[in-house]
Symmetry: C2
Subunit: 306 residues, 2 copies
DNA sequence: TCTCGATCATACCCAAAGCGTATCAAACAG
DNA sequence: CTGTTTGATACGCTTTGGGTATGATCGAGA
């Protein structure tokens, strides 16, 4: 089998066209170098790489061809070492991140943009999914990290709170309930039909909304269900009802809807980054390092920012 | 330095994910294999390729990246061996061939087509040139072989006669000298202006033409010189004169010229393949082997064919 | 929880591979 | 024709790498 040592030696001999000088450059003496080339020629099937009939040796055509190939192989090897080291350092590789749709309007875009500029060789794969589904995909090793809304720590997963936001009401712009101040009371929503997502998709968020309205004395009448936030807001715009959504959805600006802060103060929800403590790859480690400074430990900091 | 032995072992371990089984496949025992992987990880800069914390070892992300790279390197190596052997066998490589313009109308096209179909991986480089120039380029090692017209063996070169042909007259179709039979006497050309090439370009052919006309009792009056056969025939077509050219030029068919066999019998010329005996590369060897069956040893065989 | 089997790591020894010194053989310059 | 240069060969020795024995650790099952 041809070892890289033979390739290295061959390239130096091919460069010097002189066994003695080549041996010096390789920090060895001439006889072993001669044997190396002989062995290489043998391994290639007794192909003559050099023409030694005269005093000055010369590359045969086969030798010239092999120079090109050998150089390519050693380049490839150097590249392999570099790439592997970068993957080990978490500077290169693949990162699979799950996220709930609202993250697309809050932390996700900025997070990815900043991370991509710091780690340009990391290929990020995104998968929109519910919180429960993400937990399952993390357990199965399909995902490296997830972005989801939670109140309690997710079992078996590490987590980092990234974003706190209140819930807000969303109404058709034509609705008489829409106020100039941007704030409205919850109570009047009692009479409105609601557009909401099916509870299974995000039970904790769903229950928070229901608990909030029930504290105000009513259970919302869900006139229409939709699975995605964008769709919910589209249906609100179409006049099918009102809804209560995370504040970040205000980033989805539409002329035909208005968002309203609620009083009494609507509950806040937190978007967490979650991952498995036991399966930390270097790329994930890089990503976590990148995210940690962005953690929102206290709700006050979020308030201050607004 | 990373040897291919380490790459081979690594790929088997990565495939089996089990040191013991991998060692069996590699025809060695487990401890040295463990050391090989340790050495490989050390050579990569203490990068962990496998996760050995659990019973079942697993590839790290760096390990996964290195699998791809290592496989590529070994593939490249196999390809290098194959290609080098093919070059050594003369099945691949580059062949630089010089030729005189008339060869383009006689042996060259067929020769190259047949050779290319037998040796598809040989890259043939063509260089149109005079006979003397070809001899010089062969001596300098620029050319591997040449196609030229000669009467005497070229000094320091091996040669193989490939094509024998008589000289023929070429006249404007409108010329009253053009006969129906396709044969004409030389004598009437005495009164015609000639289009010929400068003597330096092909002294032996030039002298043959002059000797022939002088035997018929005249020296041609060269009204116009041109370096290329196509141009000479073009000028004949344009009515600037007549000429005497190798018979193969009849392959350059034009409505406005006619070719005529000459009487008394015009001298024959031979196109030779020439090469340096001392610089025979394998590709050249293949080419010579391909050409030898085409050699025309006796003029009779050529005659017989017509 | 404890034990045992499976599996990778380590220690140590030996054989093979590879390097160095000495020398030979051939080619070329003078 | 001779001496010098240069690649090839011979042989001894060091180093490398593989084998055997054994240790350490993890996990399955009692």
């Amino acid at each position: 089998m041809i070892e890289t040592r033979l390739l290295r030696s061959f390239l130096v001999v091919a460069d010097e066209l002189h066994f003695g000088r080549a041996a010096t450059r390789l920090h060895l003496t001439q006889p072993p170098l001669t044997r190396q080339i002989q062995q290489l020629e043998g391994d290639l099937g007794d192909v003559a790489l050099f023409d030694r009939t005269r005093r000055q040796i010369a590359l045969t055509q086969a030798g010239q061809a092999f120079v090109v190939e050998a150089r390519r192989i050693l380049d490839q090897l150097a590249h392999a070492v570099d790439r592997t080291q970068r993957v080990a350092r978490g500077e290169s590789g693949r990162l699979r991140i799950g996220f709930i749709s609202t993250a697309n309007y809050s932390v996700l875009p900025g997070l990815l943009k900043a991370f991509a500029s710091r780690f340009p060789d990391v290929e990020v794969e995104l998968l929109e999914s519910t919180g429960d589904e993400q937990a399952r995909l993390l357990a199965d090793g399909i995902l490296d990290a997830g972005l989801l809304i939670a109140s309690d720590p997710v079992p078996d997963l590490e987590s980092l709170p990234l974003y706190r936001e209140p819930l807000v009401a969303v109404l058709p712009r034509s609705s008489p309930l829409a106020s100039r101040t941007g704030t409205m009371a919850v109570k009047p929503l009692r009479a409105e039909p609601f557009v909401l997502f099916p509870r299974v998709l995000a039970p904790s968020l769903y229950d928070k909304i229901i608990a909030y309205t029930e504290k105000a004395g009513f259970s919302p009448y869900v006139a229409q269900e939709a699975r995605q936030m964008q769709t919910i807001i589209g249906l609100v715009a179409g006049g099918l009802g009102v809804s209560i959504v995370p504040a970040c959805m205000q980033n989805l600006r539409r002329d035909d809807v208005v968002y309203q802060r609620l009083s009494p103060k609507a509950p806040e929800i937190t978007t967490f980054l979650v991952w498995r403590a036991d399966r930390s790859s270097s790329v994930l480690e890089s990503f976590l390092e990148h995210c940690r400074p962005l953690a929102k430990t206290s709700p006050k900091r979020v308030r201050a920012k607004r």
